[in-house]
Symmetry: C2
Subunit: 439 residues, 2 copies
Amino acid sequence: MFQPISISDAAAKIRAGHISPIELLEQCLDQIRRYEDRLHAWVLVDEPGARQAAERLGREKPRGPLHGIPIGVKDIIDTAGLPTRAGSPLRAKHLATADAPLVAALRRAGAVILGKTVTVEFACFDPPPTLNPWNVRHTPGGSSSGSAVAVATGMCLGALGTQTGGSLVRPSAYCGIVTCKPTFAALSTDGVVPVSHHLDHPGTMARTVGDVKIMLRCLRDVDDGRPPVRRPLDVDADATGPPRLGLLEQFFMEEADEPVCNVTQAALAKLRDGGAWIEPVVFRDGFEQVAPMHRRIMAVEAAAYHREPFAASRPSYGPMIAELLDEGLTISAVDYADALVWRREYSRRAASLLENVDALIMPATDTTAPATLATTGTPKFQAPWSCAGLPVVSIPCGLAGDGMPAAVQLVGPRHDDMALLQVAKWCERCFAFDQAPPL
Amino acid sequence: MFQPISISDAAAKIRAGHISPIELLEQCLDQIRRYEDRLHAWVLVDEPGARQAAERLGREKPRGPLHGIPIGVKDIIDTAGLPTRAGSPLRAKHLATADAPLVAALRRAGAVILGKTVTVEFACFDPPPTLNPWNVRHTPGGSSSGSAVAVATGMCLGALGTQTGGSLVRPSAYCGIVTCKPTFAALSTDGVVPVSHHLDHPGTMARTVGDVKIMLRCLRDVDDGRPPVRRPLDVDADATGPPRLGLLEQFFMEEADEPVCNVTQAALAKLRDGGAWIEPVVFRDGFEQVAPMHRRIMAVEAAAYHREPFAASRPSYGPMIAELLDEGLTISAVDYADALVWRREYSRRAASLLENVDALIMPATDTTAPATLATTGTPKFQAPWSCAGLPVVSIPCGLAGDGMPAAVQLVGPRHDDMALLQVAKWCERCFAFDQAPPL
């Protein structure tokens, strides 16, 4: 049986000398040898580079909170010396000459960069070869598919991903791991192949809330000229009392299928038993506009970025992204401008839902991972928060009747990512979900 | 001879009981009676409303730093009970039912809202009826034309304006007053008729740096859910030593005409005499892309806002704005998206010019106010900073050979508006420009 280890436990063991970075790396490489041929989580495992880093870190004093921790990097994020293929044949010969600031921040914190994880083609829609470790007939979700599967199976202890629609939360929920999509623009997107610059969010994926938080703190240590986020404070979660949560029955509980509703209701009952105050909140505007507006912004911005290679090499694009780009190329500037104005106003109104609660709570996905490899699922439950730019933490909370994990997502006030992670830690303790994929 | 009084002096006299709010208001109304028929600074002087406010404030304890100070509001900013006509016949029957948050903030600080000042039609290009008090054959600049003229002539002590291209800095420079265009998004644009939501900046206009600073501090006291700006600190300017200034000879000194260059060189000499360290800085990218990209963003966003009324009532639009809207309606979304990506990258690179200096310095306009009423001048010197979103303070520094005032603009680091105003105060003392229009 697979025995996962958390980043915080592994880091403590390394600091105490109970395990060396190279021993921890070998455990991850063992998992890769066992399961990678079946699951296809990696584009490239940089075994020599990782070994070299782990050996060097083993001789050094601890550099930071990720000292000796093997981390996977979604293959749209530049990692010096490795290709950034972004799931596209067009980038087969790419070579990144420098680390993206996020990767550099991980290295500064002591991380061992283990390799590049599979992404859906250009982080859009066309399904990747990756399979779900809970049941290989089910999609792992996307587009951060490889990161989710690698973390879920202990091939690495944490991973970087990105979300434009639902690409962090959906694969994390489908694969039973935790993710944090921080406030929009809180993390650098330099050195990341863009999808849509008004919607792209890098984020962290790991097996516990504490772990995504450790990673996030390291990533915010990036000097790219942006103003710092509002609340750098980091009170210990244990000091946090039961939270006030706003339940979005509207749209989310209405559109979720029965198995997801059942797991969510059971999770809410555990939170109430723990003392949480949970009341329904209603978004007067509704969420109906999100899907078309999100699609419009994403189509235009992706089309602007891909315009030249798409014109030159159309057959190298998958059918789903080609449809998106065709759509984006036909939209008028004023319609796109309308969508950006809508996004700004929607973001402000959505943020006002947080006025009287610590966080919003709702299912992370409308179904568990669909039993198909033809789609990575729908972003309908995740896109509302990619549009709003509010921070999200998704936490697995139980197994549905089909044996697949389900998750709730918590949404917090803008720039209060760390406070939201405190609330998430509290909830995670109530859920006490500690199952691993039946490998 | 016109004897201007500053906001800070007037406020001190009111606090000391040496003058009452109603007496101060009467001085402004006297100026309006003397010069308004000739200069056309106002769309509407709310004499009864202003009297009522001044009388009430005269009986109250000081509410804030603007207690009893008459302020003009550009007629694209909602002021409860008054129309917001935005210089357009289409809005002749408009009535604002609530104050824009900026106007509400002024009232909270004790300001007497004196009325609505003339704006260029929808704050774009078509010249208004307003004349320059230094010479009525010269444009006052635009689009905040009325605000600049009203302040320059003592019809009010301060005014609100807005800038999309150069609409705060240009009329202020042409009319010999001070303005601050704060960091992009530092001030609320709620209740302000938009031109271009990626470029619109509200700002303050007055006769001294201290005065625009007092107003700006009051305006930032707006609760609209945005995060606070980075440095709320406000050390007294007198404690500030000579600044390090980066001189933009590139583009600005190259494209300025000889009279403006001469006034600027004389101003730089005064700063050096005062102890300022001034060295040229070079922007590797150049500023050539600014004009076309600025125009594209502005055209699209204005066209998106005006789309329906423009289709329905085209003859009600002036020729210059109609040309802008026609242009915006034909642009593709991907071209507009490219411009937004350019703006983001340009903003970051422009901000890096501030790395080793306290502020950048350059002429505020390429010429003094042109001797024509057919244009409000070109935004070429102001648009680079509207695009970059960096804070700007424009300070009159001398008269050119034609007897018209010229100004330098200082550009500071993002979010450091208050620190920039400190530098500006230091420079203002060196310039010792204290001339008023020859009324």
